[in-house]
Point group: D2
Chain length 405, copies 4
């Protein structure tokens, strides 16, 4: 077991990380620094302070990271229309690198030589935390209790908590059967009945959105204003990044938008089923594609599309803090210089429908595209040569008797 002097713990204030806090103190006989972040998960972070103090923690960090999260992580990711495996908007994946970064910053500030987190040994999050930590502070020690300890069942955990007088909060509501994670971009559900891929998810699982059935019978229209690929205003009102996302979550959730039920491939090698609510993100993806559709060059758009799966995989697998992600990001960001304008969307019972897009940087040329007479803007005769030469290699091959199959 590595010798550890001081460890920074990603601390939610909940039971699991409270047990970890105690376990670190006992097992490593070291000082623990707690770090609790408001990433928009919708729970108070301040209560974590008293809990940490009660366990003797002297250095307590509680940060509101919502603006940084959306501005420096969510928005850059959406510039690429990022979707993992055709469906998943990477809500959990994109929050981890920010937490890793803060853990290391705090380790540097407090002179800690280790970090710790509450992610299990089966999931992607351990990878995302630790790859980030190693990349930013290569000599850091990482303590992942779930990979080390023997408290592998809930009973043992509760026993440990009871034995060490760690308070177990009793919410009015029943303990959820799901493993959940939330931030401003999404809330995720795993485990429970979802471990049967044939079983339908339960309606009462969802927390952030009404069902399409329960959404209003009247559509909601919104206008998103883009600058360099990011939303800077909604319905003409300028908003900060976190405010944009919070607003879209609200209006999206109200309209039954953004629920997803998938089986995904984890980096550690197994398939797992997850359900996700991403109301704002679902709207953002649709809106961004729409504003790009009139402002982006075709080949730039296609190049971006061809690299997107790689970029999504990097984020999913935890390589945000890698030189290849940074390199791809530079290209993606460069492509957004003229992604400016307004998209108009209709939200209705789970549907996000593009109904208009306009931009001073639009490359749509009605004179050329028109079915009416274009007054010579486009010479149709050019098409004959264009086709002939595009076909030439195939004509030569066919002339020489080459068959396609």
């Amino acid at each position: 077991m590595a010798e550890v002097n001081k460890v920074v713990l990603a601390y939610s204030g909940g039971l699991d990380t409270s047990v970890i806090l105690k376990w670190l103190q006992e097992t490593y006989n070291c000082e623990v620094v707690t770090f609790t972040a408001d990433l928009g998960q919708g729970e108070e972070v301040e209560p974590a302070r008293a809990k940490a103090q009660a366990m003797g923690v002297k250095e307590i960090y509680i940060d509101d990271l919502r603006e940084e999260f959306v501005r420096d992580f969510v928005f850059p990711m959406f510039r690429a229309n990022t979707v993992y495996e055709g469906e998943y908007l990477l809500g959990t994946s994109i929050a981890r690198p920010l937490i890793a970064k803060r853990l290391i910053e705090i380790a540097n500030e407090t002179g800690a030589d280790a970090i710790s987190h509450g992610a299990t040994g089966k999931g992607n999050d351990q990878v995302r935390f630790e790859l980030g930590a190693y990349a930013l502070k290569p000599g850091v020690k990482v303590i992942a209790p779930w990979r080390e300890w023997d408290l592998l069942s809930r009973e043992k955990l509760m026993d440990y908590a009871a034995k060490h007088e760690i308070p177990i909060e009793r919410h009015g509501k029943k303990k959820s059967p799901y493993s959940m994670d939330a931030n401003l971009l999404h809330i995720s559900y795993e485990g429970g009945v979802l471990e049967d891929t044939w079983a339908e998810h339960e309606e009462d699982m969802w927390r952030w959105s009404v069902s399409p059935e329960n959404a209003p019978d009247q559509a909601t229209y919104i206008e998103l204003s883009y600058q360099n690929g990011d939303i800077v205003a909604i319905d003409g009102k300028e908003m900060s990044p976190a405010t944009v996302l919070a607003y879209l979550n609200k209006v999206g959730g109200d309209n039954g938008i953004g629920r997803l039920d998938i089986v995904e491939n984890r980096f550690v090698g197994m398939k797992s089923r997850g359900c996700y609510e991403t109301p704002g993100g679902t709207i953002m993806l649709k809106g961004h594609r729409a504003i790009e559709s009139i402002t982006l060059d075709r080949e730039v758009a296609h190049l971006k599309d061809s690299l997107m799966p790689k970029y999504a995989e990097l984020i999913y697998n935890g390589f945000w803090w890698s030189p290849e992600r940074v390199m791809l990001q530079q290209m993606i960001d460069a492509s957004q210089a003229q992604v400016n304008g307004v998209v108009r969307l209709k939200l209705y019972k789970g549907n996000v429908v593009v109904v208009g897009r306009k931009s001073d940087d639009s490359l749509f040329d009605a004179n050329i595209a028109t079915f009416e007479d274009d007054a010579g803007a486009y010479d149709q005769a050019d098409a004959a040569g264009f086709i002939k030469l595009n076909a030439l290699r195939m004509r030569i091959a066919a002339n020489k008797g080459r068959k396609l199959l």
Copy 2:
């Protein structure tokens, strides 16, 4: 002007291609063979016979190609989860290579040395028809009247029709302001008010689907059975490919599914706006991803995803009958060997929601994925080494003082 003896015309029986028929006879002083295909566009094809006969055509081909269309074109394309520019399901693109193939087959059967079609010089369809034709019969002559003649306005066309006694049918319904194209996979709309990208599409434009607002308040559940990536049964009932698609169009359209409004990039170089109704295709895309999610290896799935944009571009651009499309297809088809099983979907007011998937070939392993005790199926300690070596290059770099940005 090329000398032409006999030309096979893709003939719909409508005004435009009737004018073309006459114009070909007059301009090239050649025999015309007509070819009319039922691709599921929802209009009678048989009436084309009498019209062609009335204009003196002796060789008239009227084919029901619906099964071939879905089996050999639509289904193979959906095996790749093909989407162009993030949105478009390629409904028009995928029908053109079949028409090209039949035009050439008929040319070979009838000894024709040329083909002709009614696509304009601004669009993608001319490219798709002609690339296919050249690839399959390299010496064929292609006559594209819209690139040659001077009948470029509707008035001139009508005058020509009147002068040559070509009957102009008056439907009860008003002439649509849109340029439309339909087949079993979709119906498309271009032109008219759509040429203003900011203008909302009109509700009465849509032909195949009710609006989500007008869809039933009760959800519809369906089960799709897959074999080698293709749907072979719905709700346990075996169906032919065309029947599958027709059924899904019906149930999808009834539930307000599959409308799309986009600005796309044409191969000939301009942006254009199109609206599409693809009820069945929208369901198929969602279902296919779901069955793949439990049956496909992760890296196979990611490799497919990374090549999909290229594959979609090939189809959009008209390169179906190219060796590179065939080569990609072989890889895609090979990946589908175990894409077998059943997907359960909920259809509700425009939404297609996956609610279950199962397969004898499932790679989902509940024992390993579980949040509960897995009885040693997975050794969490392995993750530490996995992460350490994945991080090694970044740790070395950071140790040497390398910064990420």
Copy 3:
């Protein structure tokens, strides 16, 4: 025929472009501006002035573009280790965008509304010139005489020259049977005996290099110093970009380096055979890969490699002045920030052998790589977990009876 007031002609001073000059004056009855560039082709450019004057040209541009050519075109291209179809170093392709750019700059300066060049209608160069011209000045008229006139045989051309008193220079040496093009990066040969792909190229065709057989029996060693991926010094002596390339051409050519004989695929659709001498470029490619091998992150290097074929294709096809090339370039350039250091090469009878590389930015860590005891720098036990999880998806599949073939 388009109406033209003034045209800028890419003018070499040779027979062909002199005929074009006269033909433009006669055919378009317009003023001609000549532009002659020294790109390092090894021929005097100044004589073009008198010839142009003799034909009444008033605006004559003669530019030494060697530094700009290497600094802004050749060097950026080599940062990507660019090779077309596995072999070709793009010597011709990379010069064309610079000429296109100057043609347009001169057109803007002189108020010309057209440009003209001497490239044939079968080759890639017409595409490269014209795509660049259109991208930089979208309304420009392009006159490509070889696609327009009827002087398609050498006899007719000579007759035209004689008739118009265009002087035909008689070199001491016999007229080459090859179509050649040269600049500081390479000299190319096409046509003649090369049109038979089985015929061996003739030794006396080559102009810039001795054969390996005739190269010195003693090897030459050189050290290339890199900064941000570009060579800034040779054997410790700082040199400008053009001087670097000229020097490497000399030492490479002296050692029989850089000859190539290939069949390539042209953008216009046919295969053609070309022979190329690229002594300096061949050394640069080898050297650049070597300096990258110790300074570049693995995944950055692999990402670059995966995009290189696309980047090479863009340059070959004439899309240097396209947004997608610019976008790729930004990523490539960003990757070169730490590509600094020295490479030592041995040149011997056609061989370029890397014998050493060093860098303050090296990521090579002898302590970790060593076969000797590494004092704990690397924990071999990590590898077990790394392998286990990399294998997990395949173990699960095999456990479920999935076969690979």
Copy 4:
């Protein structure tokens, strides 16, 4: 420590694997089956039998795998023109999957529950062996002594050998300072002086080839006959795959061909320097590109090129026995249907020069490619439209004031 009943050991007969053999017997108290393969490494394999018997091994496998190695591994890999990181021909990587396969086949035949190998915990080979083993027999136990034992220095190893009376052979020649590995495709060198990336490799390190300096002053010409992308005859004489490679190694080595000195990126995360001799492989790569240059469609060739880095990475990283490698292989193999014909090469002092290529399946069309009059085979006027439409998106953008930079 896992309980093991019987283990199959990849046994060379040398000191290291003899120590492992003994160590396995002692440590795991289990039966050991030895497997020794002739992959063309150039050493006798039969002596391994007596050594194994002397240590009490009852089941001894000695296989000549040369034909299988070249036919099923080397040849398929060369169909893709596979090169790792621009330089490395993957000589070691491609042999490992065959050994993994045989280890598992023997485990199945002998009822063994484990395999073992002598690869270290720092290298790629452990990964390649073990990924293959796990993919083919998911429940197999893997014993990698170098990751487990404490015999980490040569002294301890020698002490162990002495203590257990394992004979240490004294060759006449001095022990090489390099870690070497050989098979029919190549011989590799690592360690020793090579751990300094600036130090030149020593001439007396190389075993298989003469230096270019010492190669004959007379060039050697050979003709390679291809069928479906594989060499089936040399100079008109039909040969088996292994015979082809042995022949090319001989003639290549005699002409100083195939030496390489690189720094490469290992899958486990560090950079390492390796020197390689691959005489036959170097010739094969050049020859295969040449035969493809006349027989492969352009876009098929470019698609192959764009996927090659991924394919090379898969093989380098040990994923030969993965579904994604199999999937890529199907595409690659399909592309080779018409890669038939003859390539003529000149070998001279390290150089492999293509001097001719011919094929009944050639797509080279001299009539179209010619610089002479082509009698109308190609209409130069087509190029104007081709260029115009390729430029259209850029012209529109420039017209709207869009700048490239």
